[in-house]
């Protein structure tokens, strides 16, 4: 059994890590992780609703 991690995945927007588990040349399991967190939902909480577009368009 081999486990391969590709981190960072490039040519995308954002940060991504992919791990795959390989048995006899066949992928038996895989995990994707988004490795960056900003907490946009927490920042939006309690704000003037008219500002929501300005913040969410920058996700």
């Amino acid at each position: 059994m081999t486990r391969i991690a590709i981190d960072p995945i490039t040519r995308i927007e954002g940060h991504l890590r992919i791990e795959v588990q390989i048995e006899d040349g066949v992928v038996t399991d895989a995990w994707a992780s988004s490795t960056m967190f900003r907490g946009i939902e927490l920042i939006l909480k309690g704000r003037d609703p008219r500002e929501a577009w300005a913040i969410t368009q920058r996700i």
Binding site: T10, R11, H15, I43
Partner: protein, 373 residues
């Protein structure tokens, strides 16, 4: 034979000498230098040695990368990518995973590169909120800055914390200049920053061997030396007291001043009115929305639609005030005003008193105030 091609790193491109010289003149203009400097730029940019660049992305939306890549004129983005050797940039590089990290490591070990950073760095809980290749952003920035010639932070997040730092700053986001203290750091804030300003900074660095003059927030003066308000195409309307009062009203349709709709132009330093966005097509105020102040620290706390605090500028009092009094004048106070004016200037004051207290119907009936004086 007439030589129309550009030598050096630009030799392989379909770029005429005329276009290249136009670019050099544009850069002299953006940097507010005499046009004669275009010759110096030409010499520096045609050098065969390309300066390596490591472009790091942390807590970002890739919007600053997009701003650079979406420029359609070859004079901005493509020239940056041709003049420089971009050795590491997650969004555009071909290699991924281990090979990508190895490319960066090789450049960092060699030194002599420009480090460009996009996105803020989460410092809470030892930096676990942003990890690349199994390492924290804190660790990656520390290593990449150690051997760099200079560090350029692009966008509001890398320069001042931006959205991730907006209250309540869940991840403890900090800016590049909070962490890098032993290298020259230049800030190009903006959400997104303007790629023309990055190009001009790079051209300045390659020509003179140093970063351009900066203000106390590490922003280059050529781009952040003037208030948006001072160069705004709608400034005349501010001075004349002509304000948009509601979206879609008469003033909005006529392109009046957006101050009362929350425009932060009077408190924001940026060269947007001159360079604009999307290849000089337009900019927020030009399209009818107020400036949100994106090149200033912590602008998300100002409230997009709250009034900016005016310090140096107030519309002249001879025109309509910024905030017209909401309450109507009470009859008693009107009489007092009329009386006082009458005492002061005699007959003219009496006429004013009469005008103030006269019911509207009488005005419409054709009575002329002049007959009473």
């Amino acid at each position: 034979m007439l030589d129309t091609s550009i030598q050096g790193p630009l030799g392989g491109r379909e770029l005429s000498r005329r276009d290249f010289l136009k670019f050099c003149s544009l850069m002299a203009g953006v940097l507010a230098l005499p046009r004669s400097y275009a010759k110096k730029f030409e010499k520096a940019l045609a050098a065969p040695q390309r300066t390596p660049v490591v472009w790091l992305e942390f807590q970002d939306c890739a919007g600053c990368t997009e701003a650079l890549l979406r420029a359609s004129r070859p004079t901005v983005a493509e020239l940056v990518l041709d003049i420089l050797s971009v050795d590491y940039h997650e969004t555009i590089m071909a290699a991924s995973g281990k090979r990508a990290e190895e490319a960066k490591k090789a450049t960092v070990e060699q030194g002599g590169y420009l480090l460009i950073v996009e996105g803020s760095i989460p410092a809470a809980e030892d930096g676990i909120y942003c990890c690349i290749g199994g390492r924290t952003a804190l660790d990656i920035l520390d290593e990449a800055a150690s051997n760099a010639l200079a560090v350029i932070a692009v966008g509001s997040c890398a320069t001042f914390g931006g959205i991730p730092k907006a209250s309540p700053n869940p991840t403890g986001a900090v800016s590049v200049m909070d962490l890098v203290t032993d290298k020259p750091v230049l800030n190009l804030p903006g959400c997104p920053y303007n790629p023309v300003n990055l190009t001009a900074t790079v051209v300045h660095f390659l020509t003179f061997g140093e970063l351009p003059a900066m203000d106390d927030l590490h922003r280059p003066l050529f781009a952040y030396g003037a208030l948006i308000h001072d160069n705004c195409e709608r400034r005349g309307h501010f001075n004349a007291g002509e304000f948009v009062e509601a979206w879609g009203d008469e003033g909005h349709r006529k392109g009046w001043c957006l101050y009362k709709m929350g425009c932060k132009g009077p408190v924001t330093y940026h060269n947007c009115p001159a360079v604009r966005y999307n290849d000089g097509t337009n900019w927020p105020i030009g399209s009818g929305h107020g400036c949100i102040g994106c090149s200033e620290p912590d602008f998300w706390e100002l409230g997009v639609y709250n009034h900016a605090e005016l310090h140096r500028f107030t519309p002249p009092e001879t025109y309509a005030p910024v905030y017209p009094p909401e309450q109507k004048i009470a009859p008693a106070s009107a009489a007092l005003m009329g009386g006082l004016a009458g005492l002061a200037v005699g007959a003219a004051g009496v006429a004013a008193y009469n005008a103030l207290t006269k019911p509207e119907q009488e005005d419409e009936s054709g009575d002329s105030p002049e007959t009473e004086s």
